[in-house]
């Protein structure tokens, strides 16, 4: 499937719009933008992905907890962050972000950063939170699909409750959640592009930067499409490798009788 997609992006789009992805002049100019942008995207993914997994896991756990102090706030969190568009979250996070952090902490730890960079960082965290709400639902489904008898059996053996969690429930939850998590990671990678809307330095933003100077410097206008095609292929490869990677991981850990949840 992805082969068909890549083929279309590589062959059909250039044919329609009459550009070549092999032009050396194009790459001479675009490479610098592309590399900076790609590293920016990697940076934001590296920032948001671990954070969203941790948050999502904790929230998903809280949502199956019997204790309301955990369950109710987690439900509210999930419903709010799933219900709001990531773009809105990002824009408001970049506007409010710095006032949500107490001034002393700002002065002490972030003194070296420009205010704008901090705002983009907080917007990235907002994206992570949006994704974590979806991941919380994945983990919740994972927790709920571990039968109650497993917990009982662990208790009957004399395992402490944290041991039962660690050795019986969590291994099953993770195995069940891996493929849907891979899909959610792909969504997260795509969502980092939203940061281009608020002065984040990543692939889409850098590519747009090039287009800003395109007409002024007399370069062919169809390069616009070449640029977007390259960006599209990059995202296609990124999202495909992360979903594929987690699917392979699941296959590696696959145990008979434990089928991945579909959410």
């Amino acid at each position: 499937m992805v082969v068909a997609g890549l083929l279309m992006a590589f062959v059909i789009l250039p044919a329609i719009f009459n550009f070549s992805l092999l032009s050396t002049q194009f790459w001479q100019i675009y490479t610098r933008f592309y590399i900076t942008g790609l590293f920016g995207t990697f940076f934001y993914v590296a920032l948001t992905l671990p954070l969203s997994v941790v948050l999502g896991f904790l929230m998903g756990w809280a949502r199956v907890s019997r204790i309301r102090i955990f369950r109710w706030p987690a439900s509210l969190y999930v419903n709010i962050f799933r219900g709001l568009p990531p773009l809105i979250l990002v824009i408001f996070a970049s506007l409010f972000g710095t006032s949500l952090i107490p001034q002393p902490i700002l002065d002490r730890f972030f003194a070296g950063f420009r205010r704008g960079d901090i705002a983009v960082g907080i917007a990235a965290i907002a994206i992570a939170m949006h994704s974590s709400a979806y991941q919380a639902e994945i983990f919740r489904a994972g927790f709920q699909s571990v039968p109650k008898g497993q917990v009982e059996a662990a208790q009957a053996l004399g395992l402490r409750s944290w041991q039962g969690m660690r050795h019986v429930i969590l291994p099953q939850t993770f195995r069940l959640s891996l493929p849907p998590l891979g899909n959610e990671f792909a969504v997260l990678i795509k969502d980092t592009s939203i940061l281009a809307g608020i002065a984040g330095t990543e692939l889409v933003a850098k590519s747009r930067d090039l287009l800003g100077v395109l007409s002024a410097s007399g370069l062919p206008i169809v390069w616009i499409f070449a640029v977007w095609t390259v960006v599209a292929i990059t995202y296609l490869v990124l999202t495909y490798s992360v979903t594929r990677g987690l699917r392979l991981l699941e296959r590696k850990f696959h145990t008979p009788g434990l089928e991945a949840i579909s959410l």
Partner: protein, 319 residues
Amino acid sequence: MADLRKFLRERWRYIDAMLAVAVIVGSLAYIYDLLVGSRGLDVAYITRNYGLYVHAVLTNVYATTIAFLVGMAIGFSVGWLRTARTMPLAKFVLSLRAERRARSEDREVIKADSGFLIFFSLLWYGAKYVVRRIGDGFVEIIRGTPLYVQILFASSFFIVFLREYATEGLLIGIITLAINTGGYQAEIFRAGLQTVHSGQIEAARAIGFSRLRAMRYVILPQALRLIIPPLTNEYIGLFKASTFLFVLGVQTEISYIALHEGYAGDVFEIFAMVTAIFLAITVTLSFVVQSLERRFRIPGLGIEAVRKPRGVKMPAPVA
């Protein structure tokens, strides 16, 4: 001490609930205090402007609905196309060879039109194969790339080739959203149609239903149950995605934010309003999905199988 423990145990349910509410209210109040603090909530601003924001969100609803319906046509066609069964190419060539061998024992006369036959069936299968692969590629590109990039691509397209329409942000936006949701809906339709077991069609035909009636009375009732909840989820997703219209210069809530941010200092009020309007729509719709699922649930017919949030990939179709 023992009394306290007993008291806590007996009243734990209530204490727990009260603490939970306290945590929620407390954290919301803390955020409110940080953002609004001593300046106080500008109620006058809200009463003066909420109509503007409701109107802006209604623009989103309008764009979403049109794009969704157009996308449904695209999605159904592409999804249905992708359920079409094609033989793997290698297997097809093998069967052709076997056929030729069988024919070669016959008289020479057939040989002439057998080449003709092979040519046309090859063409037919080839066309089917190519069309299906194009469907695959379309879905993969739409789902594998950010909507932002798709919108920028579309606006570039209009700027270069259709200059006179390049300022029609809403039009460009609706077209892009329609194509985008078409890709996502294709997966929903494909999964829905494929999940209805082929045995069901056979069973319906076996008791004397025509193909059309089997579709009407057996396949559709099952497929619709499977498809409606993920379609509603897709509508919610598309509605959230429609905020990107502002990139194209459509007057939506976000452009007002940009407008007001500079001098008004009422960003929190805007945030509160936009959040309230959006949550009202999305949470209501998700509630509708849940109750739909409960209402139409048939034991043994897995609705979960196709209930996917936006952007989730499904297993590849079985060739």
